[in-house]
């Protein structure tokens, strides 16, 4: 009797483990609460849509097997670095994650990367543009976003073409992402001959910008470039508008890309955002859905159009899927080799990772576009692509008022 029970238990265990072998476990955290909530949720929806579509199509096919994608974790990291550290360790050690996606934002990703690298797990990063993490000699980290140094180059090039005599103010969040974006932009602005008349970082939880705005007014810049994430960016735009600051162009990071931005009404109009992806951008797709199909499926599921965070999330899944298929295995070393060899265009644009040891995993294939919130003929706020000129869907409105 005892032997029979043991055999039954053994068979059950075998069945269970063989069942698990048909799953690919992917771990990541979501900022369900805290300052990164808005952007992080959009990224999560990208992951989720990809998973649902892949599983509906029969899963990831590799080495003659089909694997269902299963998310382990999806815990709330509370936009907090400490939680990320605990949860990524937990997902690897207890939840048996095979692969990881990054949390949202550069600072959370930098922390997660330490954990995933320590345990030798592949992590595809989305919503994380800061490039420093990739210079630390990591082997299994792969970046989907164009790096921070690329964010504002286009804005300054566009401004150079439109108003070469403009003066520039930088007002930005004192956080790793925005600092990593703004510092090279300041240097670049001076290189191309702009006069930077004001520059100041503000604390990430700032809600009252009156003091900074007064300083901006005193410095009399033509354009303002800066921001950080959603809460501060939306507040800054609203207060700039209420204080009637005379600016010909406002460019803010991240926040204006969210569909929620239009809720700011008139304060939203004219604001430019550097974007990793816009629904209007069209690429010759080699793998996965077209941009239009992605946007359609996303809008049908969530009742809002996708932002670039959503597209980045979906693209993460897509690139991992392709690497596993190319590798014909879920083995970390083989998938990493396939990722190293990746050079492909999806709806999200081109993806190629640096393979040199001093910048391994850095995104070198993807390029950015600039979008501007404009009023269409019926007065509704819509986001238009204004740069690069080759891919524009509307002309830049300059000056905004």
């Amino acid at each position: 009797m005892k032997r029979l029970a043991l055999t039954a238990l053994f068979v059950l265990a075998l069945l269970l483990t063989s069942g698990f072998a048909q799953n690919i476990n992917i771990g990541f955290t979501v900022s369900k609460t805290g300052a990164l909530n808005v952007d992080s949720l959009e990224q999560y929806r990208g992951f989720e849509l990809w998973r649902d579509q892949v599983n509906a199509a029969g899963g990831i096919k590799a080495g003659g097997k089909s694997y269902k994608v299963q998310f382990v974790g999806s815990y709330d990291d509370e936009s907090n670095v400490k939680r990320v550290q605990q949860l990524y360790t937990r997902m690897i050690l207890q939840d048996n994650a095979d692969f990881l996606f990054s949390p949202y934002s550069s600072s959370l990703t930098a922390t997660a990367a330490i954990v995933t690298e320590q345990y030798g797990k592949i992590m595809l990063t989305s919503g994380s543009a800061e490039g420093k993490t990739y210079t630390l000699g990591n082997h299994y980290l792969f970046q989907m976003f164009a790096p921070a140094t690329e964010y504002l180059k286009g804005v300054l090039d566009m401004l150079k073409a439109k108003d070469p005599k403009a003066t520039v103010a930088f007002v930005y969040e004192d956080a790793s992402f925005s600092v990593a974006v703004v510092n090279p932009a300041k240097t670049y602005a001076q290189q191309v001959g702009f006069n930077v008349v004001f520059s100041e970082a503000y604390a990430p939880n700032t809600t009252d910008f009156s003091a900074i705005i007064d300083k901006v007014i005193a410095a009399k810049p033509t354009v303002l470039i800066g921001g950080g994430h959603y809460p501060d960016g939306s507040t800054l735009a609203r207060q700039l508008y209420n204080h009637k600051v005379n600016l010909k162009m406002i460019t803010l990071l991240v926040a204006p890309d969210s569909p929620q931005w239009s809720e700011l009404g008139d304060a939203a109009a004219g604001v430019v955002v550097p974007s990793q992806w816009e629904p209007q951008t069209v690429f010759k797709v080699e793998f996965g859905p077209s941009g239009a199909d992605f946007a359609k499926a996303y809008t049908a599921k969530y009742n809002v159009p996708p932002s670039y965070e959503s597209a980045g999330g979906y693209a993460c899944g897509l690139i991992l899927q392709r690497a596993i298929e190319q590798a014909g295995s879920t083995d970390t070393a083989k998938v990493a080799a396939a990722l190293n060899a990746t050079d492909i265009t999806t709806f999200y644009g081109r993806t190629k990772f640096a393979t040199a040891p001093n910048e391994h995993g850095l995104q070198i294939g993807h390029s950015m576009v600039l979008a501007q919130w404009q009023k269409d003929k019926s007065g509704t706020l819509v986001k238009q692509v204004v740069w690069p000129l080759a891919g524009k869907s509307a002309n830049l409105v300059y000056p905004i008022h």
């Binding site: 970082a201 503000y202 809600t207 003091a211 007064d214 300083k215 959603y230 507040t235 209420n242 009637k244």
Partner: protein, 279 residues
């Protein structure tokens, strides 16, 4: 400077609530920040439902604050008021965590906006928004109304009597329990009102009350305990200070200056800078 003056009066109003409860009951009310956040959400919900002038909505919010304050008093303050101060500190902290937890579950920590704006006026390059002016005026009006209430009405005088000497007040036939409940309710209503005013100026989340709670502590210490009008003046002073120093230093340094001031005042003027004039 003018911006500082305007926002300072809202700081002052927020601190009045804390100061009143602290002074009368010897309770450091740690629900203060959470109630400020609740005031913000009350304004948001009422405004989106009714689309009335946001500043008219202050009246129902104050009424709700009074009811909520009474409720909190009877559920979690009354029973610990005669115990060591740590008890009431922990008890109000627990209520604070309950409010924030429930708020996070309902509204998450995403930012909300009260989409209401009054026309402002422009002097040269600088524009002062109508909302700032209206919020500051409302804060001053509420503060003066409270001052009149405390000095001219029977219940108001009873509150002051209990604050001065609870035993003596009881000997004079004042029911100190009723008075304490009333003072707590008023303190909570003031916090809610200040939250409602802030919500017309800046976007907010359920966690936004924390900043104003900290500022309220600084203001209360500046003014001295239990001096509501002093708290208003100290609030304005704090706002002015912020306005005056920011042109010269990076904004990130402001908390350092404020809390530096907090320590200096605690050490040098333990009864507040208005101690002598109010005595």
């Amino acid at each position: 400077m003018i911006d500082g003056l305007l926002i300072g009066s809202v700081y002052g109003l927020a601190a009045m609530g804390l100061s009143l409860i602290w002074g009368v009951m010897d309770v450091i009310n740690l629900t203060h920040g959470a109630v400020i956040a609740l005031g913000m959400f009350a304004m948001y919900l009422l405004f989106t439902a009714l689309h009335l002038n946001a500043y008219l909505l202050l009246l129902p919010i104050i009424a709700m604050g009074l009811i909520f304050g009474t409720l909190v008093y009877w559920t979690s303050v009354h029973w610990v008021i005669d115990r060591p101060q740590l008890s009431s500190l922990l008890s109000t902290f627990a209520v604070n965590m309950i409010i924030i937890g429930a708020g996070t579950a309902i509204w998450s920590t995403s930012p909300y906006n009260v989409n209401f704006s009054l026309p402002g006026f422009t002097v040269g390059l600088y524009t002062f928004t109508g909302n700032h002016i209206a919020a500051a005026s409302a804060a001053v009006i509420i503060a003066l109304a409270l001052e009149l209430y405390l000095h001219r009405t029977r219940p108001g005088k009873a509150i002051r009597a209990v604050a001065d000497n609870r035993e003596a007040a009881e000997l004079m036939g004042i029911s100190s329990t009723t008075v304490l409940a009333l003072a707590f309710a008023i303190g909570i209503a003031l916090a809610a009102a200040s939250g409602a005013l802030v919500s017309t100026l800046f976007p907010f989340t359920i966690l936004s009350g924390g900043v104003y709670q900290l500022k309220s502590f600084v203001v209360t210490v500046l003014a001295g305990l239990g001096k509501p009008l002093g708290a208003l003046l100290a609030g304005i002073l704090l706002g002015l200070l912020e306005g005056a120093v920011t042109p010269f230093i990076a904004v990130s340094w402001i908390p350092l200056i404020e809390f530096g001031l907090f320590v200096i005042v605690l050490v040098a003027f333990p009864k507040g800078i208005f101690a002598r004039s109010a005595a």
